[in-house]
């Protein structure tokens, strides 16, 4: 059975671009437009991996969603790939090696999303 990827992002066009790429690579894709709906979808769809945008309604909504996922016994083990903004203009800096200690995510992916990179990162982090 195809592995299921949940994309939580409020940018519809970006979601579609990622959906086409991931579906072409053989994944099943579901999506949610904000953090709250995303958490619901994790419960109802039990995805094998979550692609999570940092900046949605607020500049750090993605962080809060990530923490909620990790605090919930039912979904704490789902791998998270965090989509980060372009060029870190918000003052937040991401460094997977350093920040993974306090950011409970498995990988970072910078926008614009390169399709090959997206597929690679999803494949690397999804559990067999």
């Amino acid at each position: 059975m195809a592995k299921k990827v949940l994309i939580i992002d409020d940018d519809f066009d970006l979601v579609e671009a990622m959906r086409i790429t991931l579906e072409a690579a053989g994944f099943e894709v579901v999506d949610a437009q904000d953090g709250e709906k995303g958490l619901e979808k994790i419960r109802s769809e039990s995805p094998d991996l979550v692609v999570l945008d940092v900046m949605m309604s607020s500049i750090d909504e993605g962080f809060h969603v990530a923490y909620k996922i990790r605090e919930d016994e039912a979904m704490k083990d789902v791998p998270i790939v965090m989509l980060t903004a372009v060029g870190n203009q918000t003052g937040f800096q991401f460094n997977p090696g350093k920040d993974a200690d306090f950011l409970p995510v498995d990988a970072f992916l910078e926008k614009p999303v390169n399709p090959k990179k997206l597929v690679d990162i999803v494949r690397q982090n999804i559990k067999a």
């Binding site: 990622m18 086409i20 060029g87």
Partner: protein, 445 residues
């Protein structure tokens, strides 16, 4: 160029205000003089002949000041030269009248000599710098004329006060006391006037400066948000284009494939420029700055190592020279990394295959210097002043390397200013360039 250029402190409006102020002061002087004449007559100080002459001076003062007053209130337009001439005529006439008064009241022994000082102070308040020295010379000339004329017997000395021991006369003592009081308070008034003027100008400048700062802040806020708002949709466009390219793959002919590739590159360029614009505003917001104690040697080593691949691709020798001693610096890591990454990539970019690029850190007593030197194309002298300007790219740089936003060195300068450092460039066309960054060490940190 005008002889008297208008400045915030010297303009026609302010000169006219000073003229009117001077006229008001002259009315006061006339009042004092009239009081003096009455006092002399009542206490029978001085010859009636002299008192008459002093009265005549008072009449001349009355007439001349009325004329100045009529001129100042009835005209609407003045040129700067006209006002300066008018004020000078008034001041010189005042000096002549004062000299007559001083002569009538005993030349060197006249208590009125102090009033010469008022003219010096007034001249320094009213006119641009330099005039007060001309007036000092004038005052000394006018002071000397009666003294010399008396000495050589051309005119007679006037013993203004009667009696052998004038100081014993209460009327004389009171007169001297009043003169002294006018001198002391007059000096205090003028000095206060100068100070108030300075304070007013200072206040005006301060508020103007604050407005400029606010303007600059709103500009950078605008930059920051505009670039941020534009980045997300363009990133999505690029992501979409990449997916299209990926999905279509070899299904389309090369022409379409190339077109897609160029579109992707162009969106990448726009994103690069928006990132750079956001960087230009970096540090204008307190919450963005992250100063910490950082190891310059480590930072530069990392940067040089990361750029080795690019240098090797062009068969260039990228070397790093570090001092033996520890180089800890209180700075913003992200900003400084941007500075040196920018300088190193520029050096590699604008140096021919097989060239040399070196990075040298030196520890001085009060500052660090970091030299990034290459033996590349160099920068023509006439273009060196422009390279730190936003969006400027030298014509030769454009010809040589197509990519680049022209914001790199503007960002470098901005980040260095954030550290109160400096950057200088020495370069000869065809011989290479050396960028020297100076980062001041602050002892108190």
């Amino acid at each position: 160029m005008s002889l008297f250029p208008e400045t915030p402190v010297f303009n026609t409006a302010s000169m006219l205000r000073r003229d009117k102020w001077l006229i008001r002061l002259r009315w006061l002087a006339l009042l004092g003089l009239t009081a003096g004449v009455i006092y002399f007559s009542v206490f029978q100080l001085g010859d009636s002949d002299i008192i008459l002459k002093i009265s005549l001076v008072a009449v001349v003062l009355l007439l001349s000041n009325s004329a100045y007053w009529a001129y100042a209130t009835n005209r609407k337009q003045y040129s700067m030269l006209e006002l300066v001439s008018l004020l000078n005529i008034q001041m010189v006439v005042d000096l002549i009248l004062l000299t007559l008064l001083v002569y009538f009241t005993g030349s060197g022994e006249s208590p009125l000599v102090f009033f010469y000082l008022f003219h010096i102070i007034l001249a320094s308040i009213i006119f641009p710098g330099g005039f007060s020295y001309i007036y000092s010379g004038l005052v000394m000339t006018f002071y000397s004329i009666p003294l010399l004329l008396e000495y050589f017997g051309v005119i007679g000395h006037i013993h203004f006060f009667h009696g052998d021991h004038p100081m014993e006369e209460p009327s004389v003592i009171i007169l001297k006391w009043v003169m002294m009081m006018i001198t002391v308070f007059g000096a205090a008034y003028l000095a206060q006037n100068v100070t108030n003027r300075h304070r007013r100008v200072y206040k005006r400048l301060k508020s103007a400066n604050k407005k400029l700062q606010e303007l600059n802040e709103s500009k950078t806020t605008f930059f920051r948000f505009a670039s941020h708002e534009m980045k997300a949709p363009i990133a999505t466009i690029q992501s979409t284009l990449m997916v299209v390219e990926d999905v279509l793959g070899d299904k389309v002919d090369t022409q379409v494939h190339d077109m897609l590739g160029r579109a992707i590159n162009r969106t990448a360029e726009v994103i690069e420029m928006l990132k750079d614009l956001a960087d230009l505003t970096y540090g204008n917001f307190q919450e963005q700055q992250r100063f910490e104690a950082l190891d310059l040697k480590l930072m530069l080593s990392e940067l040089v190592t990361n750029n080795k691949v690019d240098a090797e691709r062009k068969k260039q020798n990228l070397s790093l020279n570090l001092p033996r001693r520890e180089c800890i610096y209180w700075g913003d890591m992200m900003a400084l990394k941007k500075v040196f990454l920018n300088l190193i990539t520029n050096a590699i970019r604008y140096t021919q295959t097989g060239g040399e690029v070196s990075v040298t850190l030196s520890h001085h007593d009060e500052y660090y210097t970091i030299d990034v030197q290459d033996n590349g194309v160099g920068i023509p002298k006439e273009e060196q002043v422009n390279i730190f300007k936003e969006f400027y790219r030298t014509p030769s740089a454009r010809k040589q390397v197509s990519e680049g936003t022209g914001l790199g060195l503007a960002i470098v300068l901005r980040m260095i200013e954030l550290h109160e450092g400096t950057i200088t460039v020495t370069s000869n066309e065809g011989e290479g360039s050396r960028f020297t960054v100076t980062l001041p060490l602050e002892e108190h940190l």
